[in-house]
């Protein structure tokens, strides 16, 4: 293993992580809800009465984030690594997989660890390993 020191961004990544954690804390303590993105989106398919507005508001906040961010500083790079076919396959896998697993990086990886849930820790271990294996196969075997 070689570490890519030139692209390593410990401080901005740590600061970004703290903001993510604070946002999850705000949603939990104020609204009583877990900031799991796949669950927030999944709860809108189909939309349920009384459950709709906070979900749409949270997602609108996510989408507005680049607009607000760009007011202060240029947006960070967004280097796409997959073609249209792979993006579609990836989207389908992420959509169906996160709903079966009841969570993704935010719900299991962040909130699940924050509440010390063994179920979320197992989910995180599995999706991390699958991600490592997928990139290994794509870059070093195929």
């Amino acid at each position: 293993m070689t570490i890519d020191w030139t692209n390593f961004t410990p401080w901005t990544s740590l600061a970004g992580g703290i903001l993510i954690g604070l946002a999850a804390a705000i949603l939990l303590l104020m609204n009583g809800r877990v900031a799991g993105i796949s669950g927030i989106v999944g709860g809108l398919i189909p939309p349920r009465e009384g459950e709709r507005s906070w979900r749409i508001a949270f997602l609108a906040g996510l989408i507005a984030a680049p607009l607000v961010y760009a007011l202060f500083t240029p947006l960070p790079p967004m280097r796409v690594v997959a073609g249209s076919g792979a993006l579609i396959a990836a989207g389908l896998l992420v959509g169906i997989g996160t709903r079966y697993a009841s969570g993704c990086t935010s719900g299991h990886g962040v909130c699940g660890f924050a509440r010390r849930s063994p179920r979320s820790m197992a989910a995180t271990a599995v999706f991390m390993l699958a991600g490592f294996a997928t990139v290994f196969i794509l870059r070093h075997i195929l």
């Binding site: 570490i3 390593f8 961004t9 901005t12 990544s13 740590l14 970004g16 992580g17 703290i18 993510i20 954690g21 946002a23 999850a24 705000i26 939990l28 303590l29 609204n31 009583g32 877990v34 993105i37 507005s53 949270f58 906040g61 996510l62 984030a65 680049p66 607009l67 607000v68 790079p77 967004m78 280097r79 796409v80 690594v81 997959a82 249209s84 993006l87 989207g91 389908l92 896998l93 992420v94 959509g95 169906i96 997989g97 709903r99 697993a101 009841s102 993704c104 990086t105 935010s106 909130c111 924050a114 509440r115 179920r119 989910a123 599995v126 991390m128 997928t134 990139v135 290994f136 794509l138």
Partner: protein, 144 residues
């Protein structure tokens, strides 16, 4: 309003952390290549910042604004959890997008994120359809 604000802070955190850059995410997942460990700092910072709130929430029945505290109750590590997480991880490695960063990238006008999110919504709708079909076919005696 609170949810909008929380979403905004969450999205800004994703942008600042580097998670909206698929090349950075796949560089983290590429252990055998030039490994970029930045994402461990994102996870560490996020878990650290959220932990006190979850410790507090575990002892409360209602949120500060009086809403019921809705924490996950399921604890079983079952096949659905493991297979679902495995499928998610493959998709994550393929494109370098997980749900939050992909949705945030929509606001930056990313056409790749638009394709990904479109497919993700179809995947979620497929889950919903499969679940309904299965519960409709299940005999009434076991559904209680």
């Amino acid at each position: 309003m609170i949810a909008l604000f929380a979403g905004l802070i969450f999205g800004i955190g994703l942008l600042l952390s580097g998670l909206t850059d698929p090349a950075k995410v796949t560089a983290f997942l590429d252990l055998a290549g030039a490994w970029d460990p930045s994402l461990t700092f994102v996870m560490g910072g996020a878990i650290g910042a959220a932990t006190p709130a979850f410790m507090l929430a575990a002892r409360r029945k209602h949120s500060v604004l009086g809403a019921p505290m809705q924490l996950p109750v399921k604890q079983s590590i079952d096949r659905r959890l493991l297979i679902g997480s495995f499928a998610f991880g493959i998709g994550w490695g393929l494109a370098g997008y997980c749900p939050g960063p992909a949705i945030t990238s929509l606001g930056a006008g990313s056409s790749a994120a638009l394709i990904f999110v479109g497919a993700m919504l179809i995947g979620m709708a497929a889950f919903e359809g499969i679940e309904r079909f299965r519960s409709a076919r299940r005999p009434a005696t076991i559904t209680q």
